[in-house]
């Protein structure tokens, strides 16, 4: 007899193996604190696991990043209730952990992204690091693909300037 529960469990394991690193790095770029990123990543997968069987396979990636987006926003909001917290929702420069594999390019990219506004930062992350289409990004941010287009136009313009300021490696 086919053990449906075991099959779904294996499927979720494959799903979490494929996406664990993606989500962890996404959250880490947003909250910039490794311990918080680990906790949030675990919460995200717990939440997705609860609904996993009911989510169409083709919609799972978007659902996963929607959950990650919601949790990082909630985390930032709760953190911002602290009066000592900084101006941006996501960035916490004072407590930023140095990444394990830091290098000049990574550092320049993170620094440049930290200067974008929240939606621009998420759109850039989903486009460059998660290879999502404008339609998928729109689903995560709950906006239209045209709004994603506008966000990315502005974000790319800013990134070009910020990265040039951070490093001279960007040959233009």
């Amino acid at each position: 007899m086919i053990n449906v529960e075991a099959m779904s469990s294996e499927s979720f394991e494959r799903f979490s193996r494929r996406n664990g690193g993606r989500v962890f790095n996404y959250v880490l770029r947003m909250v910039r604190n490794r311990e918080d990123a680990e906790d949030i990543t675990q919460e995200v997968f717990l939440a997705v696991h609860e609904k996993f069987g009911g989510i169409a396979p083709e919609a799972r990636d978007a659902y996963l990043f929607r959950a990650a987006y919601n949790r990082t926003v909630n985390f930032a909001r709760s953190r911002n209730r602290n009066p000592e917290v900084q101006q941006s929702e996501f960035v916490e420069p004072a407590t930023e952990d140095p990444p394990a594999n830091d290098d000049t390019k990574n550092a320049a990219i993170r620094a440049a992204m930290s200067r974008l506004n929240d939606n621009e930062r998420v759109a850039v992350d989903l486009k460059y690091f998660q290879n999502m289409s404008y339609g998928q990004i729109a689903g995560v941010l709950d906006i239209t693909p045209a709004a994603v287009d506008s966000l990315l136009i502005r974000a790319r313009r800013k990134l070009k300037t910020y990265i040039s300021q951070e490093t001279q490696d960007l040959v233009v």
């Binding site: 449906v4 664990g20 790095n25 990543t41 990219i109 289409s133 233009v172």
Partner: protein, 129 residues
């Protein structure tokens, strides 16, 4: 004015997000406009720079925690399992009534109830394995 409009479309052009007609319009403009060609080169440089970003490896402790989540029963499946169990119990109970009615050749309510209880007990044992 035309360059400004085309420049706005270059990102979506590189991302493959334009319609065939829009993409053709951008290509045609690029053939004749050195300023927009330069803007496209800059955008490609930015994309290449961003693509060099190296993700951090997943911390082993987190990897283990995520793997453990996969072994938990899922809510939906638990619900389906519980419903199946309830349906089986009900079926067994009614079957018990039917069989007891046949075997006992009468309407001994105690026998019927005892058979139903036995069936229910064995099903719960089965489900608990």
């Amino acid at each position: 004015m035309q360059c400004e409009r085309i420049e706005q479309r270059l990102g979506a052009f590189l991302d493959g997000e334009l319609s065939p007609a829009e993409a053709q319009e951008v290509r045609a403009h690029l053939m004749a406009c050195t300023s927009c060609q330069q803007a496209l080169r800059e955008l490609k440089s930015l994309d290449a720079f961003m693509s060099d970003y190296e993700d951090e490896p997943l911390p082993p402790t987190l990897e283990r925690k995520l793997a453990a989540i996969g072994h938990k029963p899922m809510r939906r499946l638990r619900w389906v399992r519980d419903l199946s169990l309830a349906a089986s119990v009900a079926a067994a109970f009614y079957l018990g009534i039917f069989v007891s009615g046949e075997v006992a050749d009468g309407n001994n309510a105690d026998d019927v109830f005892a058979f139903g209880q036995e069936s229910l007990y064995s099903l719960y044992q089965e489900a608990g394995r």
